[in-house]
Subunit: 266 residues, 2 copies
DNA sequence: GAATTAATGTCGATT
DNA sequence: AATCGACGTTAATTC
């Protein structure tokens, strides 16, 4: 991408004609465009919809995706998946018309702008890698696949067992055959986490005084460290990264949990 | 919302300080903000993620929602649901830092901007109603609930039956006990749709010459009308709206198929 | 408020 | 290409 291609076009309250021109040029160069303005939207495809006039943010991406966002809410009110063909035009009454069409299945989103408050056309470069680290759920999976993450010789028996005081993340046995209660925390564990583990261990020690407890987390706050020491409970440092690596190596990672985009899509 | 509140702030390549000031004022007034720039993103919550530096579009909505979009793809790479608390600040090395936090469950998205190419703060007003009309699937449901949509005395027997030449949307019997093949089209039906129906009817007439065919759609192109007439096939006008009303009345409409937002959320 | 279910789901992997 | 399954799913509805 040349310097010229990265040039930004920003138009405040452009005429429909100016906006149409800037859009046509920008989209032919596969830039990203943002349009803010009062508009009406029609969608026809798997379903059909109509959105009456109001002010929205329209985002057109360089892969031919389209998103129309209202001023509130997480989800787009209308959208079009990547690979659209765009058509920019002026209506008989001089309004900016923007259409995004898809071949298969045939779908079209048509936007008619009553006013354009802002139009920006930008060439964006994004080659940054995205990594989604493991969740608490994945920590459990990693420990199932590689029990030594908790302790050498550990082997898990049950997960998420219900005890009178709540849920126990994992119960297993150590190399000597003693029961071990394991509590996972994906982030630095607080005193509360240590208390939770203590409660579970206490409950289970009523039936068997040899029950041990281990808190598994990337790190501990000092309060938690003190409490664990007092109650003769263990701690094992396990980071999300370590879990991710285990899951990757042992194939327990089903899909999408670790995502790595090193390159832009072609 | 007063005229002053609707004033647009658009800054190209602002300094981090200028951007921070504009954002603070804008977000305190619950405006919508768009930031385009090179940034890094960290998320911590149910899972955690890290996004290395690259250029993205950040959209902050007036209900406290946050979306971070890469230049391609339909879905945001990171996001935060409505109701966030925002924090704008400058890092020791003068970078714009933007954090969006949620109480329950505790989640945070932190964005560090290396550069800001564009910042827009706008008060948007959107009271337009959104209506999602029925899909082809819902047309079948509507006909199941109200067979007279196809013809007085019609009663459906099977849906999506496999015949040698493809799928038949619906097969039923008319008031005289003759078989009727029904083809649905959610939009103005093309000649192709009529040919499809003709093919199905032809197949079935080999076993029973009295088989009839009816194309159900909101309207017909003239080619299709001619073809249907030639082959003695029927047409019945049924609009998505009619189906939606049947589904609504008869309770076949599960949820969200007709959505009507008449007002902005409080 | 928790649990359930649909979605123009989207996205990635597998057959 | 079609199908399957997970998702920081989200969002609407029912219990």
């Amino acid at each position: 991408m040349t310097v010229a291609d990265r040039a930004t076009v920003v138009l405040e309250k452009p005429s429909a004609l100016k906006a149409a021109e800037a859009l046509k040029i920008g989209l032919s160069r596969r830039r990203v465009a943002i349009i803010v303005g009062d508009c009406e939207v029609e969608y026809r495809g798997r379903a059909s919809s109509r959105l009456e006039s109001g002010e929205r943010v329209v985002l057109i991406k360089d892969d031919g995706a389209l998103l129309i966002h209202r001023p509130s809410g997480t989800e787009p009110v209308n959208w079009q998946s990547p690979g659209c063909t765009f058509k920019t035009s002026l209506s008989p009454d001089e309004k900016l018309i923007f259409e995004a069409s898809h071949g298969a299945p045939p779908e079209t989103v048509a936007i008619s702008f009553n006013t354009v408050r802002l139009l920006a056309v930008l060439g964006l470069v994004d080659k940054g890698a995205f990594t989604l680290y493991t969740s608490e759920e994945d920590m459990r999976k990693a420990v199932f696949l590689e029990p030594s993450l908790v302790e050498e010789g550990f082997h898990p028996i049950t997960y998420e067992k219900v005890v009178p005081t709540g849920f126990v993340d994992c119960i297993g046995k150590d190399r000597d055959g003693n029961f071990v209660v394991v509590e996972f925390k994906r982030e630095r564990a607080s005193r509360k986490a240590a208390e939770q583990l203590a409660r579970y261990v206490e409950t289970l020690r009523k039936g068997n005084p040899k029950v041990r407890g281990i808190l598994v987390a990337p790190s501990l706050v000092s309060d938690a460290r003190a409490l664990l020491a007092n109650l003769h409970l263990g701690f094992r440092r396990v980071t999300p990264k370590m879990c991710a690596e285990v899951l990757k190596a042992k194939g327990g990672l089903k899909r999408g949990r670790i995502i790595d985009y090193g390159e832009e899509k072609p």
